[in-house]
């Protein structure tokens, strides 16, 4: 779970470790209610959210920040409308770009977008894991989707006159 939020391996491991330590410490409060996996997921989600809150956010992604590979990737992908498979190099560039985009979002928006659009989780599942209301999850996801789309639209530039 931590790897979904942190690309950096050491950060992901730190979040996972923190999650297990919290779980060990609060094991009595679990008391067998619900599933152990759900309980751990909730602790992990909160831990990752807290770590993301303390991390520095990137204000926005601008075209001049992009590397040549990233610019080339965006041009190539935007011109091909099919669901093409990416080669290993393109995958690396795609993951870099995704991370840049996610860093511009608030931790809550990032979580909603990653879980719903990235993993295919339902609004209800996200609400259960985060403790938010379903309407809040929907609002977060909507906002995150819009922000990511607009940022990419800006990077791609107008494709038609």
């Amino acid at each position: 779970m931590a790897h979904r939020f942190f690309r950096n391996r050491s950060q992901a491991e730190e979040a996972a470790q923190e999650t297990f330590l919290k779980a060990f410490a609060q094991l009595k409060s679990f008391a067998g209610r619900g599933s152990m996996e759900g309980w751990l997921t909730r602790i992990a989600t909160n831990t990752c959210l807290n770590m993301l809150r303390s991390a520095k956010r990137r204000p926005e992604v601008i075209a001049s920040d992009l590397s040549d590979d990233e610019t080339e990737f965006l041009e190539g992908v935007s011109s091909s409308m099919g669901r093409e498979t990416l080669d290993a190099e393109q995958q690396v560039v795609a993951v870099d770009l995704a991370e840049r985009l996610l860093e511009t979002l608030s931790p809550e928006d990032r979580l909603a977008l990653t879980m719903i659009d990235g993993e295919g989780a339902s609004v209800n599942e996200v609400a259960e894991v985060t403790g938010w209301s379903e309407s809040k999850v929907k609002v977060r996801a909507f906002r995150a989707r819009k922000k990511a789309r607009e940022a990419l639209q800006k990077l791609l530039g107008p494709t038609r006159p």
């Binding site: 790897h3 391996r9 470790q17 297990f20 409308m81 795609a94 819009k146 789309r149």
Partner: protein, 162 residues
């Protein structure tokens, strides 16, 4: 004309229904801005999928020593209080012991020694000396000259001057 950006933002790209896609296709043929929005939404979805795939691969290749690391951290957290006390004692034990010894010595000086002095003073107060005793006791001093010796010494000096 209803733009389709709200459909794109309201639903995950992979969750768009056939009806949604038909509406979008029909609209984007005549709206360049929405066509760009659709491309960006598709790209955003693809980037996220790649990011999640990468995360899954990272999870599969998790650090084999992670469990050991977590257990070590847990043990350290559990014994944190005792460890810190032991370290503190090792670092400051000698100073603390010497301070305790000094305090004990000061305590002895403050409470035992003054008590001895007080008893001497009390004994002295219980044995008063009268004026007669002092005068009579003067003669017992071996170093003190008698009256004859003093007079003799005075007049001997006068005789020598003559």
């Amino acid at each position: 004309m209803n733009h389709i950006t709200e459909i794109l933002d309201d639903t995950p790209f992979d969750g768009l229904t056939d009806t949604d896609l038909r509406t979008i296709t029909a609209h984007t043929t005549s709206c360049g801005e929405c066509a760009d929005a659709f491309t960006a939404a598709r790209l955003s979805s693809m980037l996220l999928r790649e990011r999640i795939s990468q995360a899954a691969a990272d999870t599969a290749n998790a650090n084999p020593f992670f469990q050991t690391r977590v257990l070590a951290a847990w043990r350290e957290q559990q014994t944190g209080g005792a460890w810190s006390f032991r370290r503190l004692w090792n670092a400051t034990g000698a100073i603390v012991a010497s301070m305790a010894a000094t305090t004990a010595a000061l305590g002895v000086l403050m409470f035992v020694a003054p008590a001895t002095n007080t008893s001497d003073q009390q004994t002295a107060a219980l044995v008063p000396y009268s004026a007669e005793t002092v005068v009579l006791e003067q003669d017992r001093d071996d170093n003190q000259l008698t009256n004859d010796q003093i007079i003799g010494a005075i007049y001997d000096d006068d005789d020598e001057g003559k």
